[in-house]
Symmetry: C2
Subunit: 396 residues, 2 copies
């Protein structure tokens, strides 16, 4: 295979930097032609000097100006502003766009890439959660393939490979249970930001790590799985698997299951999406089952972790409901990470916003973005009345 | 797909009867055109009346005469004698030959089916153990596919599906450990025939159940995996997995593993081989991971169960060594099942026969059958000098 030309959206984040590590390891296979980052700090400048993209974007024009001056010796176009990432995503010479911007901000540039006919390696699950119907329809229309980077969806994608779609009975997403799986219900109002950021198995960014602690991450993944694999909600199950080595499973109509396994390291699923249909000879330690001890599986606990159910409910409601769910969660997690509200306020906020919302059809990007804006405003209102984190620690 | 015409070799055994159960469940998919059984008892007559094959064989001409009289009202040809199974296997109108005769006796009819260009669903691992080079060369020459029925090899076959052969790093066969995994070394000279026939997870015939107890089964499966999947001995590993729900795994060059899982029920792998490339909607209970508790994995124990190592050694020696190994094991297991020798005499006999043998090339069927005969004679001699089962129980 020749060199694959990559555009990386969210290049300074956790997935973005891991992707660039792989590019550095396989220089004959990959070339970076575009990068998009939120801010234009030193990390981005180092990436530009090392990987020599032709075009780079940052969110703010002032950051772009600064970066342009810093990189004046390099043959690179620096774009700035809210639409710049979409321009980089859709640019002419990219073969594969790695969509790794965190949160709702990833939707518009990813959709722009799809509309430009680019293959997508998708880490930004919000693209599918917010606008799954729209995105999958656009991708189908343009014959664009969307390769999952989320470890669970990569596992399912691998376990579906070479099998007939009509033989699939059920998708089973595994969930680590996060840092609070062993905390009783009454203990959850005492947990802190630092506790929530201590994920037992995976090293990820702060937003997704908090989502793992609430299990909202798994709720979002159920929605993502629905759109990626065309499977109805009642045929997508979740099982708690504390060791995070079985990354997910597919059950077939003959009772057979195929599971994808490995050590918890995002370079695995990233590498699979980058090099698909081949596999990269990654220098990851193999999974030594005999040395691991036991692999355990437990049912989810909707009592303590209701966010998973909210994901199923939003998917069943359809239309803009998943976009509302996602926006409410993003606002609540941001407030929690800022120390403005306590942990339990995240689920509480999502529930209140969902129950107040009147979901409509999500046929256009505008429908989706409008629902997103409405839900953020509603969430901020709820969050303003939530007990602050410091107070709750005091009176728990 | 139209009706697949099946020939079932070993129709009254454990795999044969399970195969016919599946045929009965899917009458639109399968039709039985030939059966071969060892003896012509009532079970075979019932199968003939129910499935209406056009041709049937039994090993002895006197059994054939009796059966012919009993089935005089049916349009069926009954053949008898040592070559009759091969005639049924190679007959004109079969699409797929299920090779499920137990032991070395399966080799000649399976090879006859391959030479007649029939696809094979292979439960008789001895075909590959004794004559893997010969059999795979013949199959390649005639474009014949060999679909594994052994649960481990079916698992690997499923986990290889849709993947690139050059990306495979390692095959990992799981082993239940058999009924004696928790018995200490000094306890193994007290175990009885009844103990050995009590397999913890799988319901199988007596020969293979004893092979599971010695782990010789896994040694034979390593050799079978080598020939089925073209993988060298040092890239085939074995891990003890007591629960027998992970049926085997494939590790790829990126550190990813694909595992096939399910409840331990032979209808799974049989159905997969019969209907390949589709899957049958089998009415097997699904594997409920959350209800199962833990899955465990341990390294093998060559100290207590040396037969696994004998399998690797014979594979590395090559030529007729695996045929010698298999013949010595068959003789020893038969003696153990007859109550003539104690459990530990099985491994001991294999080791002595292997160490005495001078393996040569196995390029023709005659080479293989001659090695088989030599090893049986050698094994019987060793077994004649082994302590009898009853004696050993007395003085243990």
């Amino acid at each position: 295979m020749g060199t694959k030309r990559l555009v990386i959206l969210g290049s300074t984040g956790s997935i973005g930097t891991a992707t660039l590590d792989l590019v550095a390891d396989f220089p004959d296979l990959f070339e970076v032609v575009g990068l998009a980052a939120g801010r234009g700090g030193d990390a981005l400048e180092r990436q530009i000097r090392r990987f020599k993209p032709r075009v780079v974007s940052v969110s703010r024009t002032e950051d772009a100006d600064r970066l342009r001056a810093a990189c004046a010796d390099l043959p690179v176009d620096i774009l700035g502003g809210p639409d710049a990432a979409a321009t980089v995503a859709a640019q002419g010479d990219g073969d594969l766009v790695v969509s790794a911007i965190v949160g709702a901000a990833g939707l518009v540039p990813t959709l722009a890439a799809i509309r430009a006919g680019k293959s997508i390696a998708l880490a930004n699950k919000e693209t599918m959660v917010m606008a799954g119907a729209l995105v999958t329809a656009e991708a189908a229309r343009r014959g664009v393939s969307i390769l999952p980077i989320d470890s669970e969806h990569s596992a399912i994608f691998q376990a579906l490979s070479g099998q007939r779609a009509e033989d699939v009975r059920r998708l089973i997403l595994t969930a680590s249970g996060g840092p609070f799986w062993d905390v009783p219900r009454h203990g959850l109002d005492r947990v802190t930001r630092e506790d929530a950021l201590r994920h037992p198995n995976w090293s990820m960014g702060p937003k997704i790590t908090v989502d793992s602690a609430t299990l909202m991450n798994k709720g979002l993944e159920v929605i993502e799985a629905h759109w990626l694999f065309g499977m109805p909600a009642d045929r997508i199950d979740v099982v708690i698997h504390r060791q995070s080595v079985v990354h997910s499973l597919v059950e077939y109509c003959d009772g057979s299951m195929l599971a994808q396994m490995g050590i918890p390291d995002m370079r695995g699923p990233i590498g699979y999406a980058l090099a698909y249909p081949r596999r990269l000879p990654l220098r990851l330690p193999p999974l030594d089952l005999a040395a691991r001890g036991a692999l355990t599986f437990e049912p989810p606990d909707p009592e303590r972790f209701p966010c998973l159910e909210y994901g199923y409910e939003a998917l069943k409601t359809g239309g803009t409901a998943p976009a509302v769910l996602n926006a409410a969660n993003e606002e609540a997690v941001a407030a929690f990470l800022d120390g403005r509200v306590e942990f339990l306020a995240i689920a509480d906020t999502i529930e209140r916003v969902l129950s107040r919302s009147c979901p409509g059809p999500a046929t256009t990007l505008d429908d989706v973005l409008q629902a997103d804006r409405w839900a953020r405003a509603a969430a901020r209102e709820v969050l303003g009345r939530s007990p602050a984190a410091t107070l709750s620690l005091g009176d728990a």
